[in-house]
Each structure stands twice: as C-alpha cells, then as structure tokens.
Amino acid sequence: MARQHTGHEDEFSRRQFLAGTGGALVGMSALGLAGQAAAAKRHPQRGGTLNYGASGDASGLDAHRHNTNHVSAPLSVMYTGLTDLDQAGNIVPGLAESWEPNKDLTSWVFHLRKGVLFHNGREVDAEAIKLNFERIKNPKTGGDWERGAIANVDRAEVIDRHTVRLYAVAPSVTMPANVMHYPTRMMAPDAFDTAADHPIGTGPFKFVSWTRYSETRMERFENYWETDAEGNNLPYLDAIIGKPKQEPSVRLTALRTGQVDFIDTMAQADITPFNQDHSNDYHIWEWHRGGIFTVFNFRNGPFQDKRLRTAASHAIDRNAIHHAVFYGHGAMADQPYPEGNPWHLEGITSLEYDPERAKAILKEARAVGTEVSLLCLSTWVIGRETAQVVQDLLSAVGFKVEVNLLDMVPWRQARTKGAFSASIQGNTFRYDPDDFFGRNLYSKSQYAKILSGWHNERYDQLIEEAKRTVDTARRKAMYTEAWNIANAELPFFFLHELTDTSAAAKAVQGYQPGSAGALAYHGGGLRAAYMTT
C-alpha cells in the first residue's frame, strides 16, 4: 500500500511563478519522471488491453456537462487540461508549457505546447482553448459544477497562435489549479456538436464507444505528445475497456475471477480481509480521496443558535464513525487536508467528544428534544451510514433527529432552499486550498450559499487575501487563522478523512495512483501502465 506524501510543492510552485524557462521546466519534468524511470527500465511492453471495473458509469459523454471524475471514471483519461498533475499532486505543465501571471494576478498568460493534437487531428491552439472556455461558461452548454470550477475565469483572449490569456474575475493564485484536467477538460471545438455522442479530447486515449451500463471503450491515441524519460511514447496500453459494476461485491468478484484487471474502489468492509488474504496476488493501493463533514445550516433551523451547534459538535464521537463506517481505515480529521500534505494546518483546535457537556448545554438552553432534520444524498453509501451514526449520537444527547435521504434532484433542491437543519457532506481533494476554504465557506461563493450560508467578515477577509498571496507560508498562516474561526463558529464540523482502496491484478504493471487517487498524471498512472501476461 503506497501513500504518497507531497513534499516538494513549495519549490515547484515558486519556480513556475518565476516564469521558468524551458530549461527549468524540462528539468522539472525529468524530476517528475524520476520515479517512473525505474519502472521504465523494466522494458514495458507496448500493448495490452486493460479491463477496468469501474464503480460508476458515465452519465453522459459531453465533458463540459458531465463531471468525469479523475479518480474513478475511465473516460477521464481521454482528457488533459492546460496544466497537469504529478504523482505528488503538484501542478505541472500540461497543454501549456509555461504560464505567468501579471503583477496583480488579474490575468494569466499561458504558452501552449506546439504540435499537440486533438484526437481528430486538429491542432491545439489558442483559439481552441478560448472556444472551450466560452463553451463551459455558457449555462446552456456547460454543466453546473464545471462552470463553478472556473467561476473565477472571466474570459479568454487569443494573443497569438500558441498563447492565450485568461482574465480573472478577482485576483487569485488559483488559476493554474483551476485549468488542470480536473476540473477543466479541453475538447476539440469542431467536435462540440457531437460531444454527446463522440467526444474528442487531448488525452492519451481516445474514444471508441460507450454502451451505457455495459462498457466504455477507449484506445491509444497514437499522436499523444507525452513521452517517458527514455523517449518512449506514452501511453503503453493499446486499449482500456471500462466495465461499470456498481455493486462493490460484484466488482471485487470480477477482479478476483479475472474478469477485470483493475478496480477503482472496493467496499470499506472488504479492505482488511482483502489485504489479509490477497496482498500477494494483487496490487493494492490506499489513497486519500477527500473528507466528510457535518454542515450546520445558518439559513434556517435550530442550528442558527450557536449553543446548539456547540452541543451537536460535542455530541459527535469521531471514533464511532471511524469504526462503524470506515472499519478503522483512514484517519479521523478536523480539517480537510491530511497529515503530510503541505496544506495540513498546525495548531487547529476543534471540539472534543463530550456528551455530558452536550447534554448540559441543551438543558441550559432549554432545547432538549429539538427537532433536527439531517440531510444526505441517498445514493452515497458512506454519507448515509455516517448520517445514521450522527443521528444516533445526536439523539443520545437529547436531539430528535430525522434522517432525510433524498435522490439527487430533490437533494439539490433541498440544499438550494436550505430545507434542512444539518447535512452530511463530502469534499473531494482539491489541489489548491482555496478550492476548499474559499469555495465552501467564503460567503460570496455560490456553493457556500447552498451549504451553511455562513457569513463572517474576518473569514472572508482572510480568504480574499490568501487568494492573492503567492508565498505559501503566509497563505498557510491565513488559512490557519481562518479555519480556527470556522472551528469556533461551527458552520462545519469536520468528521473524517475519505480514503479509498484500488486494486489491480499482478499483470498490471507500471501503475500507481496519484497521491489523491488520480488515474492519470504527468508520466504516470494509466499513461504509464502496461500489461504483462
């Protein structure tokens, strides 16, 4: 089981900001591939088809409309973005070789790599990039989440054939992270109209077919620009066939019977037994996915009263969740970034499990028996189970809790209307901290408005400043202060880390997930995987 630590993020970021020359960046690329070079020396065989047992099926092929999650959807390997990831989670060059902001961080110029082609042979030029951004920002063609991810991009401007400038709505250092392939995927403009049937991207694999619930076929894109340290063209695999198997036990069985060679997640309950019985026969990786937390609604409901929020937080025993829902995997957490990650904040205090104190507070506030409706998405198993534990814990101190499991559309409606007292919410790992601290809690963020709807002057100030701060140490200090405010005011009560475990047959070589589970990243992941028989 490999858990990668992100150690060198500071250095690389600063290098990029200083508008590194081609030399510095090439050097960096080589460094990024250093880990893979050892694998490359094993003479990877070109060819082979990977059968991928996926936990979900795509809901649609248009990448501007349907989120193709880069840690689980096979289709995600069809796309790359302006920037890319490395194994450790740093932002590295992708379709753009380099980029620099202007003095006050209100616009960024991206220098595109030359000779990169879309799957249909069209060259990736500044015009194409511009059209992509326009399409995503248009509510008719861009999906809600995708638009939210580039909410800070005002518009794109073509400078010359291979240079594009992105204007920011507000000064921000997050631009490079926002144009990575998660969340922003580039597609060929001349294929926009047929995107729902045959999407054209820039990634190492290109689309062949999609039969819903049955399979997704992709094959190697021969003109993919990336190479490994020895100059071999990536990717090595001939084709990837994604087979959606929603049932975790069915998926795991498919792996064990050889029907699939790779599964992206398995049920939490199966992890330990699988490790015990099969760690010699399969590769197993555990990786950080994000976090899970309780949201307290400030817009209506009983939790507008700080005493009740405090009582509820004291009532929650993270240990119970750790064992009942996660079977001891992952770590209890009081903040989104795990230990070892450069954005893990020091000196954070959060409320301890103290049911007696919770009961006392409720009694004092004459709020014993307060009715609470706990919202959760019905199809999210981990969330549901956590909601049940939280319900039990809150009921034990005197709340009257009803769990409200809603399907996707009514759930979104409930969030928008604020029709809940508290909810169980998750977050996926974000490569830039503003995507968590800003997006989820900054009062002017659209998303934050449908979560807790909390508003705090000082917090907003800190977030705005942190957005403009280049120096990571100073940024970190600001987020620390901000998160401490959040822990005092309790719009959120962070519960636990979300981890997942993926597994592959021994025949799959050269693969390692990104530190946050990315399936493909610069010089690695599925781009550098190969099959031995």
Binding site: E247, P248, S249, A267, Q268, A269, D270, P273, D317, N319, A320, H323, A324, S373, S378, T379, R384, E385, A387, Q388, V389, Q391, D392, E402, V403, N404, L405, L406, D407, V409, P410, A414, A419
Partner: protein, 316 residues
C-alpha cells in the same frame, strides 16, 4: 361450439371411488390410509401455515416485549458480533441487536401489508362487482382502465410512487401512508378482475333473477346477495396477496426506498448486510429467513384456505 367428445367430463363424477369398488379390501385399506395421510399432510401444511401467520402477528403485536434491546440504539463496542446469548441473532455494523430489529421489523411490515391489501380490496371489489354486474359498455370501459392499470410495469409503479413519497420530505407517518396507498392502488386491478369473474358467473343464477322480479335494487342485489357468494376466491386471493405484498415491500426497502433509517426494516437490513456477505453471512441470513418465513406462512395458509373453501380444485 362445444362438441361432445371423449375429452369432455361430466361434472362431479368421481372416478376414484368407482375404481375402488373393483379392488381387493387390502388395497382399499392401503389406498384409504394414503388418502388419510394426504389429507392430514395437506391440512397439516395449511395448519402449519396458519400457525406461522399467527406467530407472525403475535410477534408483531408483542414486539416491545420480545425485543431484548432497543432496535435503533447503536453500540460501537459491540459491532458485528456473531450470534450469542446476549444477542440471539448477533449485531449489525452499528452494534444494533439484530433479533430486536427483526422483531420490530415484523410490526411495520405486517401493518403495511395488511392495510395495503385491505385498501386493494376496498377499491377493487366494488369496481369488479359493478363492472361484472352491469356489463355492457360500462364493463368494457372499466376493464380497459383495469388493463391499462395492469400494463403499467409492476415494480416501476412502486419505484415511481416511492420516489414521489420520498421527495416530499415527509414524516415517517405520512411516508408509510403514502406507501400503503401506492401498494393498495396497485393491488386493486387484480382484485377487480377476480371479483368481476365471480360476479359474471353468479349473476346468471336463478336467485338473482328472482330478486329482480321482486324488485330489489341493483345495489342490494350486488352487495348483499351476489358478493357474499363470491367471497371465497377473494379471501384466498387476499391471503396469498399478503404474502406477495411482503415481498414487494421488502424489495422496495432493499432498493433503498423504504422507511428512512434507522427504522427496523427487513429489506433495508438485507441491503446493509450485503457488504459483509463473505465475512459475516449471518447478517444476511436472518432478515432473509424472516421474509421467507412470513411469505411462506401466508402462502401455505392461503393454499389451505383454497382447499377448504374451493373443493373443485383438482388437488385432492
């Protein structure tokens, strides 16, 4: 046109007893014993069924007494335990006692199933009776409606209904009421069809004609005279329907459309148990057995009723 042929049988003629007369006393005795054993077995199955149903109702009624623990209280120190003296059926992943959950689950399930079938009868019987009795255009129209009703793909009707109910964020009570209404509505067309068939057969009979002549109102004839004679197939159907209703309810809960957690629910518990199929199969066995037990009881009882009330069925 019905043709007289060697394949037609005069009603009521019992070949078997006619056979017996020709055979020796010893064989007759043996046959007689077998007959008795069979009757006992058939009735035994029926009485076993009746007993099972009665036990089920008793468990549902006395759930608070029979349960050993609070069925919704979680206990993180006792998660996933195997069956033991303290926990007869073991504990689930939240440390809840499975025996208590099974016992309480019976209550909700039985209430919903009974009410749903009653609702189905309440709606279906008048519909079928009126359609069968008056016949003609009314019958044609009503039967088309029933056909359309039945053509609606089965479980999807329930799925739609359940999604509907859940989306309104209702309290547990209204949630349950909605489910009962949906199930009852789905049960009505088959009831209607059944009653219509019986009424059609009955209305040609003499006593109906006699009532007409006397001048009794149609309503009186249908509801006070014809229907009581049609009751037996309805009762049999209702009993068996109860069993199937249980299966439908648990299937819905299994798909996640039942009562919100942590209400004890056999289908939902089975769903939870899926994670642990390999490591802890007992988690899935008990709720599954409970469901099978309940449905089996109703089926056996229904069969037994059919034997008693409808002697023409060739299963002697």
């Amino acid at each position: 046109m019905a043709r007289a042929s060697i394949t037609s049988t005069p009603e009521g003629f019992d070949f078997e007893t006619a056979d017996l007369a020709r055979l020796s006393p010893k064989i007759r005795l043996w046959r007689g014993l077998k007959e008795a054993a069979w009757e006992l077995w058939r009735n035994r199955l029926a009485s076993i069924g009746a007993a099972m149903v009665i036990i089920l109702f008793l468990v549902a009624i006395f759930a608070p007494v029979l349960a050993t623990h609070n069925p919704v209280k979680q206990n993180y120190r006792e998660m996933l335990q195997t069956p033991s003296e303290a926990h007869y059926f073991g504990t689930d992943k939240f440390g809840r006692d499975i025996w208590s959950r099974t016992v309480w689950g019976a209550r909700r399930l039985v209430i919903i199933a009974v009410l749903a079938v009653c609702l189905g009868m309440l709606g279906g019987i008048p519909l079928g009776a009126i359609s069968g009795y008056f016949g003609g255009k009314l019958d044609a129209v009503l039967m088309r409606v029933v056909d359309a009703w039945l053509a609606f793909p089965g479980i999807l009707f329930y799925l739609l209904a359940a999604s509907f109910i859940r989306a309104y964020e209702l309290s547990l009570f209204w949630n349950t009421v909605g489910l009962i209404v949906a199930l009852g509505a789905a049960r009505m067309p088959s009831m209607a069809r059944l009653v219509r068939g019986s009424v059609l057969a009955e209305r040609e009979k003499e006593y109906v004609e006699a009532s007409h002549v006397i001048g009794e109102s149609h309503l009186y004839i249908v509801f006070r005279q014809i229907l009581p004679n049609c009751l037996s197939p309805v009762i049999i159907q209702a009993t068996i329907a109860l069993g199937f209703e249980l299966l439908i309810i648990t299937s819905l809960s299994f798909l996640g459309l039942g009562a919100p957690p942590p209400t004890p629910d056999w289908g939902a518990d089975l769903n939870l148990a899926r994670e642990h199929m390999v490591t802890r199969p007992y988690l899935a066995i008990f709720p599954g057995l409970a469901i099978s037990y309940a449905v089996l009881g109703f089926n056996l009882f229904g069969d037994g009723l059919r034997d008693m009330l409808d002697p023409r069925i060739a299963d002697r």
